[in-house]
Symmetry: D2
Subunit: 360 residues, 4 copies
């Protein structure tokens, strides 16, 4: 249970790290959207392991196939099934995981929940699972762009204590892609890369913050009281591996100021209702207000480190375990397309919900 996201644009992902492959079924995508693998592959390439010196060296081409739901290059309105084969099988690299729980991984919790566990590579809890999300997210982004003019972007703004100032309103995709850490501030990006490489050398890992933005979202999306747009974004982000926190607009910083300081004044600007500040982050009362939506997601440092750590084995004996083989010192660059994908999936679902309930 729990592998479907969305209410009208329903995405179901499947696949383990070391099984036959990973994939996704989208149910509810509107018909007649132009769609081929070429629309999806670029985002998968940005999510792919082995893309740079600061990510996991696992070798996967991650070439996507669309198995259903399109005809002559257009969506049919029927389920879109997409799949990527697993290639870099190395179960032997994980043999120790068959009996030992890696600290702060999901080994123990899967074991205790299901009473069985696909130990090679982390099974379903592997970041490999996000292939399906990113593939579906690419479809959602295309639809959002073509039908509503919505643009979705994400970038890294912080690695440990190295923080960049990034304006949610103005940074561009090209800036994000200009460096391997995906931070639009080139200077800070250089520092971030150095830090990650240092940690990699130490056999350690780092976390940081990803900023997600959605521009040009029309006012009116979001379904209070439970399915507020910000609530669904929070769920979407916390469903990503290694994420530990979410804040929208002023976020945790909002607690320091007063109501008078925090409120976003409203003005008629060229016939549209605008706010002159945007501490709300584009969402008020759970509904988009037409301003840029922006939020931050905290990712903890990757749990796999090349050091001996205390743990327990499947017989509940105390022991130690040490990360071996492929070492991913920082999930952040690959988290950027994941955040974009989950943002797109959240928004497109609410876009369709809004059409259903509120358009005459």
């Amino acid at each position: 249970m729990g592998n479907t996201f969305g209410h009208l644009f329903r995405v179901t992902t499947w696949g383990e790290s070391h099984g036959g492959g990973v994939g996704v079924v989208i149910d509810g995508c509107p018909p007649r959207l132009a769609l081929t693998e070429a629309d999806i592959q670029p985002d998968l390439d940005r999510r792919r392991p082995g893309q740079s010196s600061i990510t996991t060296p696992r070798r996967e081409s991650d070439a996507v196939s669309i198995l259903s739901g399109t005809f002559e290059g257009r969506t049919l309105g029927t389920p879109i099934s997409m799949m990527v084969r697993n290639e870099d099988f190395r179960p032997e690299a994980y043999s120790e995981m068959a009996t030992k729980f890696r600290p702060s991984h999901a080994d123990y919790t899967y074991h205790v929940k299901y009473g069985i566990r696909a130990w090679p590579g982390g099974g379903r809890s592997s970041a490999r699972e996000t292939v399906g999300r990113v593939a579906a997210g690419a479809v959602a982004r295309k639809l959002l762009k073509e039908r509503w003019g919505v643009t979705i972007l994400a970038c890294v703004t912080q690695v440990q204590d190295i923080a960049a100032e990034v304006d949610p309103e103005t940074f561009r995709a090209a800036d994000v892609e200009s460096n391997i850490v995906r931070c639009p501030d080139t200077e800070m990006a250089r520092e971030m890369v150095a830090r990650i490489e240092q940690r990699r050398t130490e056999g350690d890992s780092v976390g940081g913050i990803v900023l997600g933005v959605a521009r040009n979202v029309p006012p009116g999306w979001g379904d209070p009281v439970f399915d507020r747009l910000d609530a669904d974004l929070a769920k979407a982000m916390l469903s990503l591996p290694a994420s530990k926190g979410f804040e929208i607009g002023s976020g945790f910083g909002s607690v320091l100021v007063t109501g008078l300081e925090h409120n976003d004044p409203m003005r008629n600007v060229a016939g549209r209702v605008r706010t002159t500040t945007n501490l709300s982050g584009g969402v008020q009362g759970g509904i988009s207000n037409g301003e840029t939506i922006y939020f931050r997601v905290a990712f903890k440092p990757v749990a796999t480190v090349m050091h001996e750590q205390e743990t327990v084995d499947i017989h509940l004996e105390n022991t130690t375990v040490k990360g071996r083989g492929r070492h991913d010192p920082c999930v952040l660059p690959r988290a950027v397309p994941m955040v974009e994908a989950m943002t797109a999936l959240t928004l497109v679902d609410h876009a369709l919900r809004h059409e259903a309930q509120c358009r005459e």
Copy 2:
């Protein structure tokens, strides 16, 4: 749409601030749970306006009636309908709201989404809507306590820059209820109350942080990949009015340390798998690991302030608006039972999901 929470323990709330009342229907509550109004009223009293000098002075007795789903003091397994009448109607106090959008409220977004708006008192976006959540949450808490021994608590840990140190493992309900701001650190509580009263005098408002905890949750609850326990908690919390952020365990602080520092070592303690630290916050890979679950929720300062602010009216003319009448300087004390309720609703749903899928 969007007014139902949960998959197996399904809660649907209804009601506007100034209509006939507010209420909730629970579908999926197990049968034979002892339940009367006396189990629910105490939590509603903690949520009630007018309970202290630092909350809104609206006068509501908030007496709950159970209309269905119980028989001779026990639940039937059928829908439990509960209702509270609205009493303190003062639409005249809101007449200005009929034509003006209050900044950083949901007035404009409801207007633009639905093309109609119950302007007296904020309608559905009022905190009054949480009556139904708290009533349902009381049922969920009782079930969690009786069937699985789970205890849920929340408290205020920060008001603006006044921060208390609270240990998620040890603070008690009695400590929380020992003062009107609901912070278990009595000394800091005094400062917090003073700050809130000062802001109230200034016609202004403050925000802060609520800590939520769930103790004694068995390992195994949570449904990756989308319905992770932490993801559903994040959604639950961001669905509360005025919340702007959520972090679990180490949260945003996790980005500063390395993987080696952040990992929670595991040990066999008295035959149980335990972690010797709990930076994970009781959830790993989206599934509870048996440690205390704790998280923090940021609440922005209440948007209603007794000052003239720039805004726009329903004809899109620039104008100003000033809060009048009942002034709630701080939502935090009343947010405590709300956080507890949403925590309980999230956990009980996952408890039942776990029974369905994983118990033989």
Copy 3:
């Protein structure tokens, strides 16, 4: 669980036969629909017990209150909560039911499922539960009529072996309401009434068939492969108390003819695609084709009869039980508004789904 119907126009009913009342919450109704109690009461009056000599004599005024979701006579887009108080409490009339299971009622199955049972009046399994459905159905019918011009009707076409010929295309509401059995064929209606009265005199009961129709449904509603329009209608009808069968269009009769005989030829009629016969019943491949949708629902004879019957008590001892007090010899006249309501709820949900996915 199981008390919500619909995906976008979500209806949750609550209430037992002898509790505080019965009601419904609608989540997802579009905003700005004119709606007051006067739109709902007429359908409830047609469902009401005690309306004629051939239905149950229970006395209920069934006056509905709208508790939320409207403002100044229009829907808000927020949950619409409606309620009817129970008035004719006579638990003493049911005291024997506290310990004995009535044959072919739901007494035993509720007892064994939930381990507890609201024995007075059948609790949740009482036809009283349909109050909420009929109230919600009235809202759905209004929306269908105003927005898409769809008309929904039902009538009785058979009581035991007394069968009327009714043309789904042409019978009118006034014909249906012209007699107490709700059969538009006045002559057969007279026979039906006589038969029901005879059975009532005998302390026995009868079943029959209700024809449901939806006219002017646009082509394109229905969501294969599982949520076909006919599949959702079948579920809707079988969810009504005492229903035992459903057939659409040619139904069970279709098995007797060949494919060539059964196919509906297609013609361009005045610029629209029409079929020259309608054995399909207005649905092809699970999607409406623009022709009149019609189907038949079989209702068994009411299980309560004034005769001693063999049964078992809650201690599993063999015993007998005899219906006492209020005797409903035929559910059919009251089933007519129930069938209309469930038809409307099914169609309106698919109408909104169609808007969401297929409208550009």
Copy 4:
């Protein structure tokens, strides 16, 4: 939308008749069930085209692959993805379908709903879509058998006017499989086969009735008021291609008798509550009562016939169309495993729901 079935054992099918393949994802299957392709292939072989002289001659091996959700031959509790490649591509055989709507097929309704249509082979409306259902149904049947001892069977009982008497309590799988029409009454089966072959020679087709049964279902499954077990079975059956009607127990025949005649008397038999007749069909008040569940499904004659028929083309011009190429004179033998699969999927979902809500 509409391609997912079930609430806890969730099945999502995908695939068109002539795309890359067809498949299914199961989310919510309990962990540790022994499962390999060998458990699934036999049911797919019974569904496969080309299996006998009285079904479609399309050539498909329909070899299933399990792509995820199992490890070392056991289910993981994670999504089970299964897939079958399409092999017998012959789009040229369908070229006429590119521009003409076949009468009583879904060509026109898909065209009008989605504005695009995968015309080769009927796309998503092809019976080929049921591959995914049958594969998932095999998993559900295995779980039902192993965990609750439930047996599910179906058989053909009528072809046109040739009707066999089949006792739901006693017929065996071996009897069903003893002949190509899948009717356990060997003598009538011979007549049925002759009739189908005659119709095939005539280029025509026939329909009939499939009986579905579930034996040894424990009392207590089913979720009133909407998700009654019989209501969900009705939906499941009407979601199958070509089905036109559903009746449970006495079904449409129930309308002819009186309540006294229809009620199933109850007796304590060997310490269990039993009914001495079973007109209810094993379900009372929407909940299983421990008796054999049985129901009948009407399937219309296949719409493809080798005769010229009146129709309309995509430009709305009147024209004619004639079936060409592969001719399936009777869907019934292949409908048997489809009915079994949908029965299993319905029951297993309710089994898990019952565990969640009602087991202490």
